[in-house]
Amino acid sequence: MNRLVKKSVSNFFAFKIPTKSLCTGVVKVPGSNVAEILNENEKKENTTSNSIQQYDIAIVGGGLVGMALASFLASMPMTKQLSVAIIDSNPALSGSMSIKKEDPPDPRVSTVTPATISFMKDAGAWKYVEQNRHAYFDKMQVWDYTGLGYARYNARDVNKDFLGCVAENKVLHSALLSCIQDSDFKRTIYPLRLNSMTLNRSSMSVVEENMSSRESSSAQGQCARLQLSDGNSIYAKLVVGADGGKSRVRELAGFKTTGWNYSQNAIICTVEHPSENRCAWQRFLPTGPIALLPIGDKFSNIVWTMSPTESNQRKSIAEEEFLKDVNSALDYGYGPHPTSSLSGTQDLFSWFQMDTTVSANESFEVPPKITKLVSERMVFPLSLRHANSYASKRVVLIGDAAHTVHPLAGQGVNLGFGDAYSLSRVIAEGIALGTDIGEVNLLKKYEAERKPANISMMAILESFQKAYSVDFGPFNILRAAAFHGANYIPPLKRTIISYASGEQNFPVFL
């Protein structure tokens, strides 16, 4: 359990924690003619015959973002002929694990925004998600413990059918895997870990010196060489680091990061309630927000951020106690309900009468009562981390390896999907113009596109996190005013919704 927690810690973002078990063994899949998995013997033969495998792209990390990149590359005509190696020791990648529909929902879930859904639809992976348990939600309610204000969001405010979809990470992951297996994309999965990496950064003069002492690997002079945990190596023109918050690629390539640890942990678990839930609830408490997300049927997922001591305590108490705590946190605990001001404050904004949003007319609702805990409680520490640059010669970072955020807005993995989408488009553009895909000027285009968007999202989440950690009278009133503004000023509300849905890259209020 500790091992699982430790490994999962590095991959925690949004409401999702992907499985990354420490399996260094080789997984054989009988009868799988689609995913080619090399076993140790084959690899030994390869090295003795002195031909080290060469790939166009090596994706280190086969989690949600790594597999998303692979499936985006597989779905575009310019890039589907690339040979890709995916390095991840997770046995789920072998395709031998299937999802049983009768299982209760896994507590590791992610909220995917409409932008991410459209990327996955383009790649042809979304249909697999819909075959398994998933939950679209069209309403959201955000309030805090002071009871001074609340905000309700409805998909109809922006003329859409849903605000997002919540799905278990294993569902998303297997959908991406199936999408790749569908196409005849040349990918090889290496169920190993990356030990070290040599990047050929030498100038031409050094290359000239080496020419005389070259062995057979003349054609690999321009590639990065990756040494895997079983001792073998592969060459790749481009190495993509999609290996999570504690990225080994980032470490080996020498990228510096900025960031800090929040003195908060998050508890996640799956719960059950008597009626169906189609709304996402989030209440900001003095110690951190608690969120209730629908996951399908009568199940929902809880993500509760609190101090480390509290989290350890809540993890170990009995189920009934825990459920009481949860219900109180969602209901009357810590403070009163906000009054639904259908008269009163709304007069202030009556000049927006012509342009009101559907949700402005909805009154405050109390979240559903939780009746049962159906999964174990998992605890993860939270931190903020950002790589100072995303790309250098032959190496690029995407997903959590580049940025880790607070889960309070469910944006983490969506930023990662945005990275994967942008990188796949940049690679396609490079191939169209005959560029060497490891060339740093090309990779910098990806960085120039994603860095500002990621940084602005991180700044906003960080400011929310700081704003809600202060319990001070006048400040609480300010926050309440912000709630009212967001709830009753339609253009602002629409901007918030489309920014959070990923339709807009920057929160420009226009």
Partner: protein, 302 residues
């Protein structure tokens, strides 16, 4: 500083070295009117780096200047950075015009399969390598031996580009050998040539009937003086001082005219515009500074 001044003077004089009459030096020898151009004793494509034109001391200076930075051809942060940044934009134009002309699938990853292309003045192979990756059979020529060596070494690092043929020669010599190609590229070369008209005749001779010729250069406009010479060489230090001579720039009309005289018709022209905010080059209709011309040789021409 002295060296710069010397090089500047040498570059200026190089062009007139071939003219028999020194008084012609004072008149505009690059006259594209009906008056006959001064017939030089040799009609070679006299590149700055051409070892044949000039005394041995001159040759040493020239070659030394280019040889000094030729190691940095493939350093994308080095002195050739502007060229590296401009390269994708040039390739975008080349890809779209050649695909249209040779009726190739624009969505293919190797649209230039089976096309023979020559890159005249290839330098370190910055243009040749992407062309090879797009499927073409590429021959790169340059008059500076060191450039060819660097190009060969770099191309051999990748199996797709190791098929490029590099020769240390001139366009004229290739014509003498009787070689022809489906597409002839002369990007950023013609402004360094002593006799552009002869050079264009050589380019035409290298092109197959119904083949394509692509020439890019800098416009002889006030704006180009301000940007390509003053800003690029003296203020931003993107290029070594003395790389370009404003008087040797060609206007698009002049280029079209001398190509036409050589039997090649310009069909399309585009400009490159630099956006200082994003640091990227874009294709545009603005041909006032850098421009590129796509021309074809008619089917009936010899």
């Amino acid at each position: 500083m002295a060296l710069n001044v010397t090089i500047h003077r040498i570059l200026r004089h190089r062009r007139f070295l071939n003219s028999a009459n020194s008084t012609l030096h004072l008149t505009n020898t690059r006259c594209f009117s009906h008056a006959p151009s001064p017939s030089p004793s040799q009609s070679s494509k006299a590149n700055d780096k051409d070892p044949h034109s000039g005394s041995s001391s001159l040759k040493d200076n020239e070659l030394a200047k280019f040889a000094a930075i030729s190691d940095t051809w493939w350093d994308s942060e080095g002195p050739f950075k502007p060229l590296h940044l401009m390269n994708p934009t040039r390739l975008a134009f080349i890809r779209s015009t050649l695909c249209r002309h040779f009726k190739r699938d624009p969505y293919s990853t190797r649209p230039f399969e089976r096309l023979k292309i020559v890159d005249v003045g290839c330098g370190g192979g910055i243009l040749s390598e992407p062309l090879a990756r797009l499927g073409a059979t590429v021959t790169g020529v340059d008059a500076v031996e060191k450039n060819i060596k660097i190009a060969r070494l770099h191309a051999d690092l990748d199996p797709t580009t190791s098929t490029i043929e590099y020769c240390c020669t001139t366009a004229e010599k290739l014509v003498e050998e009787g070689r022809t190609f489906d597409a002839v590229m002369a990007l950023e070369v013609i402004e360094h040539v002593a006799n552009p008209e002869e050079f264009c005749k050589s380019l035409a001779a290298l092109t197959n009937p119904d083949g394509a010729t692509v020439v890019s250069t800098i416009n002889r406009s006030m704006r180009a003086y301000a940007t390509a010479i003053v800003a690029a060489e003296y203020i931003l230090h993107w290029l070594p001082k003395g790389t370009h001579q404003w008087s040797s720039f060609l206007t698009p009309e002049e280029l079209a005219m001398i190509l036409h005289r050589a039997g090649i018709n310009v069909e399309e022209m585009a400009g490159f515009v630099y956006n200082p905010l994003t640091g990227r080059w874009l294709l545009s209709d603005d041909i006032s500074v850098n421009f590129i011309a796509f021309a074809t040789k008619s089917q009936n021409a010899i």
